[in-house]
């Protein structure tokens, strides 16, 4: 049953049971708040979200008060504003105001609210309470003096992760968040989220400590590559390096959360020693850096020499749908053959109990579902090794995309008539490659991944590609265009459309449809190996 009320002079209709705070969001009015978080229960204790409701004797906490028909709410009235100003003054009585050395500075709700609505100067002349710093275990440091006692972290651990590791000790102005005994957060799998939801700099990441200022970071929407859940994330980058990963809200996939496993797994993106130019090997151990045109021309020539025959391809499940689709198209254009992928698999899922549709999945790569839909077969063991015996000694055309082949020796591809290696780093197993082509990582290109429930989600480039590295879909697409009637894709959207033309699961979907929330593929998805 919808309820109609008036907020700040705007009429708004929302479902029954909606809180005033959420209803205000509908008209674009954010009511300042700390303790309220949409993913958890609300204790209504920060007292910042109090609003004026006509007819009510006292200011009303908008985060727990549900709307009523005909209600008239003022979030910007003198009473509401002066209340917020008063509460913000109370917050600053004991706050250390150490913004210049605080990691949260620049993205801190206390800073923002006080700048917006706080008093010009505080009236407190009293000495401040000092708690100091505490190591909470895991990746979390606690700066007690900055804490606003919203208890989001306590509630995240007890309600969402459902492993109560934090609590409030003492009372009154001596209240402070603490761990139980010395156990801390060690051994929990989702505790990075309490740093995200901390509205101030009380909980900070050890990994990110003093690494970058918030205003120097670029934010790029992306998708986590560490398992097949496909958590929506943001890449936070500076100096062309990923500084940290943060979850991005998507209620259909990960809510507001991401696991520590995924959050911590980003250093590989920054790894140096990249292949920066296409290389042509002369067969005697020497290689020559060439321009792309020269490389592709040479590749096509060699492919012609090798003649039509069985093609073998190995791809990484970290490659995008577009890349894998273009690879498959190339394999078909060269005469067809088996394409395989290898993916590491964890022994079990790690479910977030309070949001059970989210888990660290067994497949530890982003696009295993996409690979299978495109037509690649899973091979190898659960540690992503082996399974390439037939490929290794293959005598026809051999294409490797993204798989570093760490478990393979230098004989890999020795017998191939043509061995093309598309990767970011050279490896022992690329020694016999006739052509080594530099490609971008997911962080340097646009594309899509398909998660384990078949949701196709876009990601965007957050880093500049090194040297002459190009997205695989661009390279492979150009080759396919030379070999067939097809048109070369000029954008990732073109490549995605081309994929839709070849693989029915993706047909009809466009980048515009996917937006930044994703959409589910057209056919039911079954997961191999489960």
């Amino acid at each position: 049953m919808p309820v109609t009320l008036t907020i700040d002079g705007h009429e708004v209709t929302v479902p029954k049971g909606t809180t005033i705070l959420e209803a205000a969001k509908r008209i674009g009015q954010e009511v300042p708040h700390y303790c309220y978080h949409p993913g958890m229960s609300s204790p209504a204790m920060c007292r910042l979200c109090l609003v004026e409701v006509e007819g009510a004797p006292k200011p009303i906490p908008s985060c727990v008060t549900t709307v009523m028909d005909g209600q008239v709410v003022h979030t910007q009235s003198d009473q509401a504003k002066s209340n917020r100003q008063a509460v913000l003054e109370f917050y600053l009585v004991n706050h250390p105001l150490d913004c210049p050395i605080c990691d949260m500075s620049g993205e801190c709700d206390l800073q923002d609210y006080v700048h917006e609505e706080g008093r010009e100067s505080g009236r407190s002349r009293e000495p401040k309470r000092i708690f100091g710093r505490d190591d909470f275990g895991g990746d979390v440091l606690f700066y007690g003096d900055r804490c606003v006692m919203c208890t989001r972290c306590v509630r995240f651990m007890s309600e969402v992760e459902q492993d109560s590791r934090l609590t409030v000790v003492e009372r009154g102005s001596r209240s402070v968040i603490d761990t139980f005994f010395d156990e801390g957060l060690d051994g929990t799998h989702w505790h990075g989220n309490i740093v995200d939801i901390c509205p101030v700099g009380a909980l900070v990441s050890k990994d990110f400590l003093h690494k970058a200022r918030a205003w120097d970071l670029e934010h790029t929407p992306s998708v986590c590559t560490s398992c097949s859940q496909g958590c929506n994330i943001e890449l936070h980058t500076r100096d062309n390096l990923v500084q940290r990963l943060k979850p991005r809200e998507n209620l259909d996939v990960n809510g507001w959360w991401m696991c520590d496993h995924g959050r911590d797994n980003y250093e590989w993106i920054n790894q140096g020693g990249r292949i920066e130019a296409p290389l042509i090997r002369d067969g005697n151990g020497g290689s020559k850096a060439v321009a792309w045109k020269e490389a592709l021309t040479a590749l096509l020539e060699k492919a012609g020499d090798a003649g039509k025959g069985t093609v073998r391809a190995v791809a990484s499940p970290l490659a995008s749908n577009e890349d894998l689709g273009a690879l498959k198209a190339l394999v078909d254009a060269l005469g067809g053959g088996d394409s395989v992928f290898r993916s590491a698999r964890a022994e079990q899922e790690i479910v977030l109990k309070g949001f059970p549709s989210l888990a660290r999945r067994r497949d530890l790569a982003a696009n295993t579902t996409g690979a299978e839909l495109v037509g690649l077969a899973r091979t190898g063991a659960d540690d992503a090794s082996g399974g390439l015996d037939e490929v290794s000694g293959h005598g026809g055309v051999l294409v490797v995309l993204g798989d570093a082949l760490a478990d393979q020796d230098a004989d890999f591809g020795k017998n191939a008539a043509l061995y093309v290696y598309l990767g970011s780093h050279e490896s022992a197993a690329s020694a016999h490659a006739d052509l080594v082509l530099p490609v971008t990582t997911f962080a340097e290109q646009e594309g899509t991944f398909t998660n384990l429930s078949g949701r196709v989600q876009r990601f965007w480039p957050g880093l500049e590609a090194p040297g002459m590295a190009r997205p695989p879909w661009l390279i492979l697409g150009a080759l396919v265009a030379e070999l067939t009637e097809a048109e070369a894709p000029r954008s990732a959207a073109d490549a995605f459309a081309a994929l839709g033309g070849r693989v029915p699961a993706f047909s009809g979907l466009t980048y515009d449809d996917l937006g930044d929330r994703g959409a589910v593929v057209n056919e039911p998805v079954s997961i191999s190996g489960d």
């Binding site: 007292r47 910042l48 006292k58 008063a86 009585v93 407190s124 606003v148 009372r171 009154g172 102005s173």
Partner: protein
């Protein structure tokens, strides 16, 4: 019968046996007519008991003065879930010491009141949440509950009525905030003693998520007498809007401090001059806090005009609260007294709501600075404005309780604050 002080102006109904240890024994209690009211109540329907209490006009003695019968009538008429009666024996308002005496001297009176109350609200279980520091009261109560179980006044099929009511005495751990009804429910459930947001109200979602009613010890102690004698009998005492008798806990600079049971509407000045034997050393009266530390203090002039009932106190700008009369003579240092009270609230704030968590301590800090001669006149403005920001902005009323003594003392005794500030200025410490 050597209770410290008694007065012939008293009407001793609840406190009749104060000072008589024999009253603690269940046999003595029964000999003197105890548990008759329970038997009578169990023979009546729950709603009839509620009606009797409604007709008596009894108002809650914990401080708010809400009519007890009306409160009981908020409980669901059908029992879809277990109902609970919670007896609030966490008496910890500074200046209050009536519930402790009621439990120490006449535990069965309270138990009988609890059982009747439980019957009226269709509860099968009563929790008496007793303040942790009341070691003796806890022991006496526990013993009395055991005796009453033994005699069949508590437990299954009381007086062959088919009614089963259990009583548990729960010893708190000594937190003022657990006397707030929803804080008490959290504490009883084993959680931190933090008040809950209302709504939902306890009659809908209370202890353990079930419909619950919370009554003060003194309220429940009055119930057996009301049920035995009827509502009209009770109304012969007190005033039209504040019927009955009330225990007044008088402390401070009077000759005979103590507990006095008086009809409501009794003049405050007579309580001081007559019942309590006048001011200590013949000193002049300076200020009175008539209802415990949470209510505004009044000066001597207002005290002379004050009658001790809910309405009479409002007329002079204060509240009856739990009738804990703190009397201060001309030697009292108002700033120090107020600072001590605020220290108490700063210590007892649960720390949930920001205005209370930060405001109580901040207020105490400013007051201490003024006390030490380091205050300024601006501090008084800050105190007035800041404490006003603590009124009506929090989950419970603990922070409102800070505003009352601070604001009333600055309004009525500004000279004392200014004297400390001026002295500091002269000595050059400010």
């Amino acid at each position: 019968m050597a209770y410290p002080y008694v007065s012939d102006r008293e009407v001793r109904i609840l406190s009749k046996y104060f000072g008589d240890p024999k009253q603690r024994h269940v046999d003595t209690y029964v000999e003197r007519g105890g548990y008759k009211a329970l038997e009578k109540a169990l023979g009546m329907g729950p709603d009839d008991v509620v009606d009797v209490v409604k007709s008596s006009g009894l108002r809650g003695r914990g401080g708010a003065g809400f009519p007890t019968g009306v409160k009981w009538s908020f409980m669901p008429k059908e029992q879809r879930k277990p109902h609970y009666l919670l007896c609030n024996a966490d008496e910890s308002e500074p200046g209050t010491f009536k519930d402790r005496e009621l439990m120490r001297w006449d535990p069965h009176q309270l138990i009988e009141g609890c059982l009747i109350g439980a019957h009226a609200i269709r509860a099968q279980h009563v929790y008496i949440y007793c303040r942790g520091e009341f070691f003796e009261a806890n022991q006496v109560l526990a013993r009395a509950v055991e005796d009453a179980y033994g005699k069949g006044y508590i437990g299954e099929n009381i007086f062959d009525s088919g009614h089963t009511i259990d009583v548990t005495v729960h010893q708190g751990a000594g937190a003022y905030i657990c006397g707030e009804e929803t804080g008490m429910m959290n504490s009883l459930e084993g959680k931190r003693g933090e008040p809950r947001i209302k709504p939902p109200f306890p009659a809908a979602v209370g202890a353990f998520g079930k419909p619950s009613t919370i009554n003060n010890v003194e309220t429940l102690c009055a119930i057996p007498h009301i049920v035995a004698n009827g509502g009209e009998w009770y109304r012969q005492y007190g005033t039209e809007k504040s019927p009955g008798t009330k225990l007044f806990c008088v402390s401070g600079h009077v000759n005979k401090p103590g507990n006095y049971e008086l009809p409501l509407g009794f003049p405050l000045i007579e309580l001081i001059e007559d019942v309590c034997g006048g001011m200590r050393d013949g000193n002049a009266l300076k200020a009175v806090i008539p209802g415990g530390s949470s209510v505004p203090l009044i000066n001597a002039e207002e005290a002379r005009a004050c009658s001790l009932d809910y309405e009479g106190c409002l007329e002079v700008g204060t509240m009856l609260g739990c009738a804990s009369v703190i009397v201060m003579d001309e030697t009292a240092d108002i700033v120090k007294q107020v600072r001590r009270m605020v220290d108490f609230y700063a210590h007892e704030s649960c720390g949930q709501c920001t205005p209370c968590r930060e405001g109580t301590t901040w207020t105490a800090q400013i007051l201490r600075r003024i006390e030490n001669g380091k205050g300024t006149e601006d501090d008084l403005d800050t105190l007035m404005e800041m404490t006003q920001n603590m009124v009506g902005t929090t989950i419970c009323v603990l922070s409102d309780s800070v505003a009352a003594p601070v604001q009333s003392s600055i309004e009525k005794f500004r000279d004392e604050y200014l004297a400390l500030i001026r002295r500091g200025e002269r000595m050059g410490v400010a």
